[in-house]
Amino acid sequence: MTPYGSFTFFIIIAILLTPTIILGLMGKRFHTYNMVVTILALCLIFSSTHRQALALIIFTVWQVILIKVYIAYRKKANSTVVFYLAVIASILPLAVSKLLPYIVTTNLVGFLGISYLTFKGTQIVMETRDGLIKQDLPLHRLLYFILFFPTISSGPIDRYRRFDKDMDTEISGEQYKHFLYQGINKIFLGFLYKYIIGYAINHYFIAELGYITHSHFQMNLYYMYGYSMYLFFDFAGYSNFAIGVSYLMGIKSPENFNKPFISRNIKDFWNRWHITLSFWFRDYVFMRFVFTVTKKKWIKNRNVTSNLGYIVLFLLMGLWHGLEIQYILYGAYQAFLMVAYNTFERFNKKHKWWPQNKFTHVLSVIITFHFVCFGFYIFSGYFIKGV
């Protein structure tokens, strides 16, 4: 059963979470019960495909052993080679699942959410290397973090130390009322975004483009804007469901969107769009890359270093979406925008060519919006094959 895909799913989750809500309102601890709910919900989600369920189990065992072994190793030693090997091992299942369909017909490794769960495992390995995770992690918490059902299919991508802190926070009955209120509010916002606005755009606009438009160019242009809006409302709607259900369970999953279409520039956009993904790449790819290059003095020029960092980040992000040509092109396009904006920003800091006032702010938002929409047009695949 697809998470948040049908009313049946919502009704079953509501029934499963009724004891959670009662316990919460009474100010009692409910995480043990919530772990049971997670197991039941996972059975529900993966019951229709046993192959995926098996792949999920093998993946989880692999990640847990890797994390446990690496933490134990890190207490004694800290070799860079071992660290890189651990990172590769943690990404391996995802890489195999993306490559396998090109070699054989049945994908035995992939399952719903593998792209998102991989981030959680890799992140723990990295924070262990940095010395931020020092002690062995309790197995039930580690499993709960990786398999937390509200965010299993498409994020938001949480971080272990943040999640762990939420688990330890005592929530009084009075405080839980706020969790409940915010949770329900987000879930209903999700309905509005995904099943009313997103659905309407897709059904009454995108599907009708053949009747609305009069030329090939016009059709592609309308599709570009329609698809951009649909993508936002569909994904932000899903994220609201995931975050809302997390809140009901006493976990404040991080936000994924912050009004992305009012971004002033492309850098601002990546602080507002799919936030947990872009912050993951920022913290674990871009900053680490720039740090190593600067520290080892491989490249003297600061601009070259930061631009190279953006190229690495966005090409990787493109590949992460999939190995299809449109995703790689999307990554390259975003890398180009970041490098171009970075160059402009440095130029402008020196020459003060673009003044800051209300007018230029509005203009910046409009320009950024169009560049962003064109990016989604590439992402949709229709840039290559046409609508």
Binding site: D130, L132, V290, F291, T294, K295, T305
Partner: protein
């Protein structure tokens, strides 16, 4: 020169703006003075000059947001 002043001088170099010195409570990220690239430069310099190692993942923008806060966080790790 005291430690806090040294940190603020370093931030002036990295942000290339004297406002850091004039208003040490300014939010460096909201004002656009510091971005992820500047943050990395800061961490590299902090390691080289003060011998304090701060892992990138430790640098949380909510607590390391102003010159004063950064100086305070670093003083704790000396």
């Amino acid at each position: 020169m005291d430690f806090k002043q040294e940190v603020i001088n370093l931030l002036v170099e990295i942000c290339q703006d004297d406002v850091v010195k004039e208003n040490p409570d300014i939010d460096l990220f909201e004002s656009g003075l510091l971005d992820s690239f500047g943050t990395v430069e800061l961490l590299v310099q902090v390691e080289d000059r003060f011998g304090i190692t701060v892992p990138i993942t430790e640098f949380d923008r909510d607590t390391w947001n102003t010159p004063n806060n950064i100086a305070m966080q670093l003083a704790d790790r000396k």
